[in-house]
């Protein structure tokens, strides 16, 4: 029993954080917002050179063969930096699913090389993110997960998040590579991890603002009203993190209870991020209500991911069945059931 991340994991996470802080700046987000495609070949190229697409690709296909625990740590960094490129979907959700399915060596090698992008379609979402530009699509038909090549264009939907690229779903087709539930669990886990990274970014922005904005002759961050709002948000964020890590370990091991723990993670992360978004805008005052401060990029991503891959009702229903329904052992001694 050991609930720590390794030094290697901490080093990798810090390396990704430092890299993204240097290149994936708020200025870049604004430039992407002003572009037609909202995507950047240069950014994707940089992420590829960092080796990020291959993190969960097996070593035999030139990846690093890392685990879902590594994936949630990296996903949080993608959320923190506001990364909109479809890296999380392709590298952190599709890659481990395809590796588990087997027989997809060529595609996995192409993912590791940054040459393949996999869009994820599931009936729980009324949209598909980044379908345009995807080389492959995973979709669901009768509980089966199907893999197909993808090309051509699709009907664009309009998201409040200016950097999300959403498309109408297409007819599911392709080769069976798993079950619908495994896609949902993996994607919900990675969305949860991005949400805590997004929450951390909003916390940092609000804290900086509170330190620098003065009213009544002193920084507003010296007032308890502001301090207590922010402290309450920190508690929610910090207590979501171990839930996500615990869910990652359960899913990595294909534990029978993994879905319940993923749902717990999704609810905890979404609640933390949503609460943080409201605290952050309140701390910024009228500035927070503008398009001129950076906060809105993260706030809108938080709204989007909170309800993507299963909204609160969906995940509560799974916990209801397990906990109130009695399928999951609960109580002292069952922390890791």
């Amino acid at each position: 029993m050991d609930f720590t991340i390794t030094e290697d994991q901490a080093t990798l996470t810090q390396g990704v954080r430092d890299y993204l802080a240097g290149v994936h700046t708020p200025e870049l987000l604004r430039a992407l917002d002003a572009s037609d495609s909202r995507r950047s070949d240069a950014v994707w190229q940089g992420l590829t050179e960092m080796g990020l697409p291959g993190l969960l690709v097996p070593e035999a296909q030139d990846g690093l063969g890392l685990s879902l625990l590594d994936a949630v740590l990296i996903a949080a960094e993608l959320g923190r930096a506001g990364v909109a490129e479809p890296l999380a979907d392709t590298a952190l959700v599709a890659a481990p699913l395809l590796a588990k399915a087997g027989g997809q060596d060529a595609l996995l090698a192409a993912i590791a090389a940054g040459k393949a992008k996999v869009a994820l379609q599931h009936p729980v979402n009324p949209w598909v993110a980044d379908l345009d530009g995807a080389s492959h699509i995973l979709s669901v038909k009768d509980e089966a997960l199907l893999l197909a090549d993808h090309g051509g264009t699709a009907e664009l939907l309009d998201s409040v998040d200016p950097l999300r690229r959403l498309y109408a779903p297409v007819a599911p087709t392709g080769t069976e590579v798993g079950s619908a539930d495994t896609l949902l669990d993996h994607a919900a886990l990675i969305a949860s991890a991005q949400l805590v990274g997004i929450a951390d970014a909003m916390l940092e922005q609000a804290t900086d603002y509170a330190k620098n904005r003065s009213q009544f002759g002193q920084p507003i961050g010296s007032f308890q009203a502001i301090k207590h709002h922010l402290a309450t948000a920190v508690v929610k964020i910090e207590f979501a993190k171990p839930v996500i890590q615990r869910a990652a370990v359960a899913l990595q091991k294909n534990a029978a209870s993994a879905s319940v723990h993923v749902s717990h993670a999704k609810i905890a992360a979404a609640d933390a991020a949503w609460a943080m978004s409201e605290t952050a805008i309140q701390t910024h005052g009228a500035m927070g209500y503008t398009y001129e401060v950076d906060l809105h990029f993260w706030m809108k991503r938080a709204w989007a991911l909170s309800s993507a891959w299963g909204d609160r009702a969906f995940h509560l229903a799974r916990i209801d069945a397990a906990v109130i329904g009695g399928a999951l052992p609960i109580g002292p001694g069952h922390s890791f059931a």
Binding site: M1, D2, F3, T4, I5, T6, L69, L203, T207, A210, K211, Q218, P219, G221, S222, Q224, I226, K227, H228, L230, A231, T232, V234, V235, E238, F239, A240, P242, V243, Q245, R246, V249, A250, H264, I267, A268, L316, I319, D320, V323, I324, I330, G331, P332, G333, H334, S335, F336
Partner: protein, 383 residues
Amino acid sequence: MDLVYTPEQQDFRAEVRAWMEANVPKEPLVTLEREDGYHQHVEWERKLASGNWGMVTWPEAYGGRGLDLIQWLIFEEEYYRAGAPLRVNQNGIFLLGPTVMEFGTDEQKARFLTPMAKGEVIWAQAWSEPNAGSDMAAITSKAIRDGDHYVITGQKTWSSRASFADWGFGLFRTDPESKRHKGLSFILFDLNAPGVTRRPIRQLHGDPGFAELFFDEVRVPVENRIAGEGEGWNVAMATAGFERGLMLRSPARFQAAAERLVKLFRQHEAKTAPAAREQVMQAWMDAQAYAYNTYAVASKIMAGGHIGAEASLNKIFWSELDRAAHRTAMQLLGASAELRHLDGGALNMWLEGYIFSLSGPIYAGSNEIQRNIIAERLLGLPR
């Protein structure tokens, strides 16, 4: 990260479980806030000690088993699983004990820890004063040096267990000219010493769970001081760290409450408010989150890390989840919630638990103080 218990840890769990099943009283004890219940709970402490379960993390030399924090968590899980009584010596084993272990001399460790582990001496805390609550640095009770003794004069209040306990610990001003955090010393005293007067205070539930203490020239040997003269504030802050951080409230307590709450919900499901279902699930989720976080903190400490201002996060989280879970239970019970005894005459433990949960966000540093600590020390906001 490896979230699987080793075979040794599983064996340890089985050993604790077997002992608890054989020894935990079949009938619930009277509340430890009353004199008869207090003595029943002291008997239970001694029973625990007879099985060498007093404080499993302490060295064997002081009545412990020399076990690690993961084993302590396993012990706590089995303790609450068995429905064992509350620990009447909690102030000693979880607060003073770690302090003595860290700051005490070998002589003090032998003198205070061993009887504590054996349940022979029950401890009360004496932090607050009438004008030093959240602002603890405003303490005015004095301990003036007179040869090889201190002479204590002053008043303490909200002193948990002090109505019936044997000994107390607290902060006293040893430099009468000093202000605020300076000039304070951490001193242990005999509650039966001449000059100590206890005035039990009835708590919300009607029983005297804590007391006011009056000191009228109480003579305390200098060797009862922990760490150096004037270093009391730092020692107390370390104690407060243990209290908020890890040991005061083990996750098993809340997991047990969440499990009971789920069962209560199933009984009352047909007539619950729509929100109740979600609140019950939230109680389970929060108890689990607290458990994961505690395992993470324990693992971090075992790997050589320590817990700092993060302790304030824990204190807010467990105290608010506990209050919410018990409030949910009160609402599930509906018009029966106010009854002190439920069907069959058993004490309404949800009511008792709800009343107790209201103290959680206040004691051990109010949650407002904890939020200040988080904002100032973790976020770096200006004081």
